[in-house]
Amino acid sequence: MIELLKQPWHWSVAGVIIGLTVPALLLLGNKKFGISSSLRHICAACLPANIPFFKYNWKKEIWNLFFVAGIAIGAFVAANFLQDPDSVKVADATRQALSEYGIQDYSRLLPADLFNWDNLFTWKGFIFFIVGGFLVGFGTRYAGGCTSGHSIMGLSTLQWPSLVATISFMVGGFASTNLLLPLIFQWFK
């Protein structure tokens, strides 16, 4: 059993578990599934700075912070006790494209060539951590939700604005991967 759990899980298994999070949160206490809101609650709790957008009773939403803390703990458990000894399997075509960018390390889920502390004070770190993170936080709140809130909760409840949001996420991602990243990596060469 534990051997089976250690292998990478099939997409259908993950899809079912993630999908069941929607009714689980609703039935456990009328909570709507979403994750980017946690970032807003952190702002509201730590630095509301008299901004109306952060002036609400964040304690009512503290369940969401418990939820994201659980995500970090679960990831820790999986990475330390259920780790797959093999390197990550990635489509050949993607490997080929990434090798042109100098990405060679497939030992972990994120390329260690990019995601390490040594890169923090370099242009690479600035783009991949600072700018990337900023766009994720700014964009999800502007859109009123992220992949979980819009693409899963929103689509599950047939909200058409969430479909528009999801299409926008994908358009942004396709443009970023296929137009912007090649330019960025060209610049790093």
Partner: protein, 166 residues
């Protein structure tokens, strides 16, 4: 402003630019929240084991080189939608006997502008907000910097919200 008015204003502000809210009228001691922590733990394990938090998987997705991520999200939507239908049809109550609350989302152009901006960031970081937490727990401490920057991005949005087109 009376306390009642203040509370109403705060209630409304919670729902602005948000999908994910607490719709329960009930109040419980803090440890009732541990059940959401437990759901999060299962969720986090799944994120790592299905490689949803992998930067490589996001690259594959946006290059159309693999079905994996489409399979994960597609299955999740189908399972979520069927669950919601069942909850509505059988009027299933919450654990505390409350009626489950659904509300229609109003459209504004923010979902397009914000969506595009988030999409660009998603491809760069290889993470939406959920995977950020899972990448940190999964051993990539550098992603703390990304998370901090995402919180800063959310704060800047909140500060300039009124000046942005919606």
């Amino acid at each position: 402003m009376t306390n009642k008015e203040k509370q109403l204003q705060q209630e409304d502000m919670r729902h602005i630019d948000a999908m994910c809210t607490n719709e329960s009228e009930l109040q419980h001691p803090w440890w009732h929240n541990l059940k959401y922590l437990a759901v999060g733990v299962l969720f986090g394990i799944t994120f790592v084991k299905a490689e949803v938090i992998s930067w490589f998987r996001i690259q594959e997705m946006f290059r159309l080189h693999s079905f994996h991520m489409y399979g994960v999200i597609g299955t999740a939507v189908v399972v979520g939608a069927i669950s919601v239908l069942l909850i509505k049809y059988f009027k299933l109550p919450t654990l505390y006997g409350e009626q489950v609350h659904f509300e229609d989302k109003k459209f504004d152009k923010g979902v397009i502008y914000g969506g595009l901006i988030f999409g660009i960031g998603w491809a760069i970081t290889g993470a939406c907000p959920g995977p950020l937490f899972a990448q940190i727990g999964g051993g990539f401490s550098i992603v703390l910097v990304t998370l901090f920057s995402a919180i800063a991005g959310t704060w800047v949005y909140g500060a300039f919200r009124d000046k942005l087109p919606h």
